[in-house]
């Protein structure tokens, strides 16, 4: 075979390969579907407190071309239930998982196992163990601290002789723990007596516990469900002169603030929790070697008079979606 024939065959082969490459690119372009399917698992997903979070998830998913599936869940979930739910979603073709981890021991290990298969992003709280799992949340220590500062501000820095009751959904979750630590760090040396600290799933009427608690001057609710439970109890029974402060992110919490039942509301930016967690997961799906990072979102302090400010209205807008 002479040189010219060799060159001719070489050129034809190269052109043939290019034709195949471009034909496949063209066909691939025509069948381009969503970037992936992301399962979102949070406790009591139909609750008011998740509206802004879900809106954020939806907006980011829409922007990034991700198929987001928010699973319907109960307000209480065990580790086994959560694991079962995740595995069932993975079997159904989920490419990534955004999950609010349960506070049970072993949650970290279970989620580390899931992370080996698909990208995982934790939201709202961390797992009890030390892990490399990324988290998107509002700084719980900061939230607790902010709540305490607002309280101090209202009492003009003097809480000497005042009594305080603390409400929290759980006491064993890292988030509740951190919020309490942040709260106590500010309250330390202020002369306030924490008379009681109760925890429970207030959805099922545990708020009635409040009636059996000794009278206090101030009640601090460290999460949305305890705040709304306390708000509901206060609106029907009153708090015997106690002032209610809390951390919350539902319209219900905002309503109690609007009504004057809650004195001050510290609201984590739940829209950003949803939006940023989904954006991170979308990056993981889009970029081959991308590793999701921790994301810290901000929070806003709302008072009754600032509830309908520009910022307050935006927060209410996301909560109302």
């Amino acid at each position: 075979m002479n040189k010219s024939a060799k060159y001719f065959i070489l050129i034809e082969v190269i052109l043939g390969i290019l034709v195949v490459i471009f034909a496949s690119l063209m066909l691939k372009g025509q069948g381009g579907g969503p970037l992936g399917r992301v399962a979102v698992i949070v406790c009591d997903s139909d609750g008011f407190q998740w509206s802004a979070f879900k809106y954020g998830i939806r907006m980011a998913a829409q922007e990034r071309g991700v198929d987001a599936v928010i699973l319907g869940t109960e307000s209480v979930m065990s580790l086994e239930e959560q694991q079962e739910l995740i595995e069932s979603e993975l079997e159904n073709g989920a490419d990534a998982v955004i999950v609010q981890p349960v506070s049970d021991e072993g949650a970290g290990q279970m989620l580390e196992g899931v992370k080996k298969k698909v990208p995982v992003m934790l939201v709202e709280s961390r797992v009890p163990e030390e892990t490399s799992l990324p988290v998107t949340e509002a700084d719980p220590y900061g939230l607790g601290g902010a709540l305490a500062k607002e309280l101090l501000k209202d009492f003009e820095g003097s809480l000497e002789g005042k009594t305080l009751g603390v409400l929290s959904r759980t006491t064993d979750s890292s988030t509740a723990d951190e919020r309490m630590k942040g709260f106590q760090a500010v309250m330390e040396d202020e002369g306030v007596e924490i008379r009681w600290y109760i925890a429970g799933n207030f959805d099922k009427g545990e708020a009635e516990y409040l009636a059996s608690q000794p009278k206090v001057d101030i009640i601090a609710a460290l999460d949305d469900s305890s705040l709304t439970a306390a708000g509901a109890y206060a609106s029907s029974n009153g708090l015997e002169g106690a002032v209610l402060y809390g951390i919350g992110h539902s319209t219900q919490a905002a309503y109690y603030l609007d009504k004057g039942i809650v004195e001050c509301l510290v609201t984590p930016d739940e829209f950003s929790v949803g939006y940023q967690s989904m954006s991170e997961i979308a990056d993981c799906l889009e970029k081959l070697f991308y590793s999701a990072k921790d994301r810290m979102v901000s929070y806003t302090v709302l008072r009754r008079e600032s509830l309908f400010s520009q910022k307050g209205q935006e927060i209410l807008f996301t909560m109302s979606q």
Binding site: E12, F22, T251, Q252, K259, Y275, E314, L316, F317, S320
Partner: protein, 607 residues
């Protein structure tokens, strides 16, 4: 620098010129690829331009339709406001017809509840007079500070559309907060027979507007639509919260300053087309944003398709070009190949075929080669003739020399009355001449050459009075092989003259002959004075150097004659040592002495 320049020039000099087929194919390929690329680029530009125009036009159409829907919606809201004012409020006294007003407002509300959030009437102090749906107003609420109220009171002659906001009027114990756009106006109401100023508020459900715009914000190519008021305050934006959270940004203030039309805009480094459509009465701007990337979004597949087409065409053109170039260059290449083969001596035939011009060329080359061949034959013949005449001249140089010496010896014999010796010598001379002549042939048998040498030595021995002895030791098997005649005689002459002539009765000359593989070796050895190494070295190359006593013909002539007939590898080889003697060896090929062999040697063709 100079080195680089030289290297480049050398590379250019060494570069082989391209073949004709390559040149033809390259030219065709360059032309066809250029045309193809031009067509592809023109097609792509034409298509992308029309696609861009189509995108802009469809955006405009969509915006017009959406604008009309928005206007219809806003008009219907205004009509509700007008109906409420002119048919319910203005005509009735609140103190007397409050229930009637309320029920008619309820009817109005129920008829439009899909698009309405609420209708409310306030007096000038912000007291609620009537509202639909019936709801409890929030405690400690001062509506007079709310924007819609302020605007209505400030500009009583107009209706005012607010930007979207959370309705902050009624206590909703379902924990809901409604995002509304307020249409407010100052009204004249009658209470207790007195006419007073009031404010009519129609809160439109924001979701109606957002749904309308959500429906058109479905594009995946980055194109989107938003709504802002005349000052650039965003009413609707698909990334409204991201903008308020500063995650995303929008150039709404600039867009609000534009009149209806299409504008080029650069925002945060991104080039985009902005289409503006103003909504009547409100002054709101419906803005369509088409990033330039959106124009190429749908074009990616088209790009691939055009590239695919170009590649397929290139493949086909490569085949077509090759066939065409082979058709044109093929006969030329075959002609060239046959000329090369002819030059290498492989094929005598020159290719004659292809188009008329190539055939003519083939014929001409064939004819030229035939002529060259004839000329070459002539030259070879001439060369042979010349060589033969040179040889004859050499031979003629020997004969007179020898004859002179012999005759001189015979003269001495006759003068010395040695008649028998003279007779013997004359008979030997006669034999010598017979062989010398050999019917004019140059090639004779070794037998005759040895006989010639014997005759010569017999003559010389008489002449030199047997002062030396001669011994012949020749293998009889080599006698029937061919040799050039008269090659031993000069050697013997030298052996006598320079070897043994000065010795007293002890001179010995030995003539030997034997087969050595494919060659025959003849040698003449004497035990004379011999030669130095330097003399031995130059005896065959420099004829002027050693012939102090000789004829000037001697060994050089013999060597040359052997090489003329048998080639450079044959001839004389000399071994000599001073005061020990000299041995001269003749090496010739073993060519049998036959008619054919002799003839071929005579013609100078030894193969």
């Amino acid at each position: 620098m100079r080195r680089v320049k030289n290297k480049f020039l050398r590379a250019v000099r060494l570069k082989q010129p391209r073949g004709i087929q390559t040149t033809v194919m390259l030219s065709f390929s360059v032309i066809s690829v250029s045309i193809m690329l031009i067509i592809a680029v023109v097609l792509y530009l034409r298509f992308s331009t029309s696609s861009r125009q189509e995108t802009i036009q469809s955006t405009q159409r969509l915006m017009e339709q959406t604008g009309e829907s928005l206007e219809d919606y806003l008009v219907s809201m205004r009509q509700i406001s007008d109906t409420a004012y002119y048919y319910l409020i203005k005509e009735n006294d609140f103190s007397t017809y409050e229930e009637d007003i309320q029920s008619r407002m309820n009817l109005l509300y129920e008829a439009n509840r899909d698009s309405l959030q609420s209708i409310a009437v306030y007096d000038a102090h912000g007291n609620l007079l009537a509202a639909e749906p019936l709801a409890t107003q929030k405690e400690n609420l001062n509506v007079t500070e709310q924007d819609w109220f302020v605007q209505a009171v400030d500009e009583v002659e107009n209706m005012h559309f607010s930007t979207p906001h959370i309705q902050n009027l009624f206590d909703d114990n379902t924990f809901r907060y409604y995002w509304v756009i307020s249409l407010s106006r100052a009204i004249e109401l009658t209470n207790d027979g007195k006419s007073e100023l009031g404010v009519l508020l129609v809160d439109m459900d924001y979701s109606m507007i957002s749904r309308m715009l959500d429906q058109i914000n479905t594009s995946e190519n980055g194109q989107y639509y938003y709504l802002c008021d005349g000052s650039g305050e965003i009413i609707y934006h698909p990334r409204r919260i991201q903008i308020s959270d500063k995650i995303s940004h929008e150039n709404s203030r600039t867009a609000a300053s534009y009149k209806d039309g299409i504008y080029d805009d650069v925002f945060e480094g991104e080039k985009r087309k902005v289409v503006i459509n103003t909504i009547s009465y409100t002054g709101w701007k419906l803005v369509g944003v088409i990033p330039y990337s959106a124009f190429t979004y749908g074009m990616v597949d088209m790009r691939y398709f055009i590239i695919l087409l170009v590649l397929l065409m290139a493949m086909m053109l490569a085949v077509a070009n090759r066939i065409a170039s082979q058709g044109i260059a093929g006969p030329v290449l075959r002609l060239n190949e046959s000329v090369r083969e002819y030059e290498a001596g492989e094929k005598p035939e020159i290719y004659i075929g292809g188009p008329q011009e190539i055939r003519h060329l083939g014929h001409s080359i064939q004819k030229s080669y035939e002529q060259i061949e004839d000329l070459m034959k002539k030259i070879v013949l001439e060369q042979n003739e010349r060589r033969k005449s040179e040889l004859d001249a050499l031979q003629s140089q020997i004969n007179p020399h020898f004859l002179y010496n012999t005759l001189e010896s015979i003269t001495w014999m006759v003068e010395g009355e040695r008649n028998d010796e003279a007779v013997f010598m004359i008979s030997q001379l006669a034999r010598l001449f017979r062989i010398s002549l050999s019917k004019g042939r140059t090639i004779i048998s070794i037998r005759d050459e040895i006989q010639h040498a014997r005759s010569y030595m017999n003559i010389q021995k008489i002449r030199y009075k047997n002062t030396f002895s001669v011994e012949f030791d020749v293998d009889p098997q080599i006698e029937d092989y061919s040799t050039v005649k008269l090659i031993l005689q000069p050697l013997l002459e030298n052996a006598i003259n320079y070897g043994v002539s000065g010795m007293d009765d002890c001179g010995e000359i030995r003539v030997e002959g034997r087969r050595d593989g494919e060659d025959i070796l003849l040698s003449v050895t004497d035990n004379g004075i011999g030669m130095t190494e330097e003399e031995t070295k130059f005896v065959l190359t420099d004829s002027d150097r050693v012939h102090k006593h000789g004829s000037g013909v001697g060994l050089v002539n013999v060597n040359r004659r052997i090489q003329i007939y048998f080639g450079g590898g044959y001839g004389l080889f000399i071994e000599s040592e001073l005061d020990e003697g000299t041995r001269v060896i003749i090496r010739i090929p073993a060519v049998p002495y036959t008619e054919e062999g002799t003839r071929r040697l005579e013609e100078g063709r030894l193969e």
